[in-house]
Subunit: 319 residues, 2 copies
């Protein structure tokens, strides 16, 4: 009854209904989100944001879908590198591939995690962009999550799907802004989460266009631009050209993007997902301190406890 | 009567009307465009293209708006560099600025035109991204075209506005893909041509995000990626992640983008604008040979003669 009343009060100026965010427990964060959406879409109100400026940016891994036990993009790229090694195109005894193939995280850390990641991404230079995408789709069709026994694409969080739908229903452009390999995320996310490829900003590889053959070619290169930390807001500016008014994140990688969002001239909102639910997912939250400053400093930043704020996490729980 | 009949025949499966492309003379190119739009939006037909794949890419200078006597973005940046020179931040006697300020094209060519252009773009490193945009808007509000005595933003070609509207009415995403400075084009194009900033791919400068001050900062850097020639299709792949099905160009810079468009798995269309009208604009067309191979080779590529295909070029002709 209380939720119905709150929804009725909040939603008068918009098209939203009492069913908004049904998988979110009634609480401060849900109320803050609904109140903010109602306020920024109320043409007569002081916080109104024109449709063109309604830019929402969501991190992918750990914010919108499950990132444990391994990042999807990394697991795929290790798989792909293995098949290149089987073809003799990669030396499986050389670093960083030896460590990637053995999932030896100490060795990766010793080698330098960033360097390991960059060299893994670079291993696919020369591969046609379309073949990389096809390979990603085939892998995602085949593998199952080790704990949940579902496809990885079924592990988008239901409450985040609802939030994305609520934003889109209120004329927000929703973008994914992720440190993961852009082409991997693009290969599946339109079907899995309703985000088209042009609205995915990830760690990108500029491909090489060639006209040497009768049909022009588009192949991957080694040149990469890492999309994390302060690069996230910088790339949002470069790719979108507008300052976001909504952001969601869960790790240090998202801190700058969230800060950029809530400190703009428009009334912004940022949410921070905490992985504190070992029954339904994993409890590995270590980033409370990082965001704490932002949340304490700024009225537009809110914590989300997966355990307390979400009634359901995954579609398989409903079966 | 003939046009009406053609339109009626062509437009049955779509929402287009007999008024489509009213400023285009009846002729092969206009017919080809209307027939193509009807075919690719006909769900029952063999050439149907799903909405998500309807990506149209238009070059800006010389294709969508007037590029003579000077490129708008270059004229603005020379103006901006002059004001930095007046503040003592640029040495006006050093190359390439000395040549830019004197409009000495021989000196620019001797110095290297690409190098001159890159160094001009790089001169604004450290300037807040927002200040650059504000400065561009102020300049565009103030200056008038030397021959037509209009704002530059009023020099988008009416037939291209109609074509853009026709594509958007048929659920195409229309993107601008230009060698011009991305932030300059973004500063005005939403008002002038109806393209939002996130759909402008130009020569970009990745900005730098900083949190040293209470409010985060976003300033320009020297790092640039030139968006011309084979970079156009490569950047379309990187930024959009889908192969275009419609392209419009007018110079060598657009050749690769047009070829990539018409050689894809979907039925694509590319048009090539010829500047052959010295009465209403300028006759400086030199690129017929370049596109000729493409047009002769491929049924999806069409020439546009500004003189013969367009009944009107600019809004001021209608006054």
């Amino acid at each position: 009854m209380r939720r119905l009343l709150v929804s009725l009060i909040l939603c008068v100026p918009t098209l939203c209904t009492a069913a908004d965010l049904p998988s979110w427990n009634d609480g401060d964060t849900r109320t803050a989100i609904l109140e903010w959406v109602a306020a920024v879409t109320d043409e007569a109100g002081p916080d109104f944001i024109p449709v063109a400026e309604r830019i929402a940016v969501l991190d992918n891994d750990g914010t919108s879908w499950c990132e444990r036990p391994a990042y999807g993009s990394t697991a795929f790229q290790v798989h792909l590198a293995r098949s290149l090694a089987a073809e003799g195109k990669i030396d499986p005894e050389a670093m960083p591939f030896k460590a990637w193939f053995a999932d030896d995280r100490d060795a990766l850390r010793a080698y330098g995690y960033s360097k390991s990641y960059v060299e893994l991404n670079a291993a696919f230079a020369g591969m046609p962009s379309a073949a990389y995408r096809d390979s990603a789709r085939a892998w995602l069709d085949r593998i199952r999550h080790s704990r949940f026994d579902t496809r990885l694409t079924e592990l988008y969080y239901i409450p985040m799907v609802e939030l994305k739908d609520l934003l889109q229903a209120n004329d927000f452009q929703v973008w994914i802004v992720t440190g993961a390999a852009q082409d991997f995320v693009r290969s599946y996310i339109e079907g899995a989460f309703g985000i088209p490829p042009e609205r995915v900003i990830g760690t990108w590889t500029v491909p090489v266009y060639g006209e040497d053959t009768p049909d022009p070619t588009m192949v991957r290169s080694e040149v990469q631009t890492y999309n994390g930390h302060e690069n996230k807001p910088a790339h949002i500016e470069m790719r979108i050209g507008r300052r976001p008014v909504f952001a969601a994140g869960n790790s240090n990688n998202d801190q700058a993007m969230c800060r950029w969002t809530v400190t703009g001239p428009r009334r912004g909102l940022a949410i921070w997902i905490h992985h504190d639910d070992d029954l339904r997912e994993y409890a590995y939250d270590r980033s409370t301190d990082t965001i704490a400053g932002l949340v304490n400093d700024h009225p537009g930043a809110w914590h989300v406890s997966m355990k307390n704020d979400w009634t359901v996490l995954f579609a398989h729980e409903l079966k």
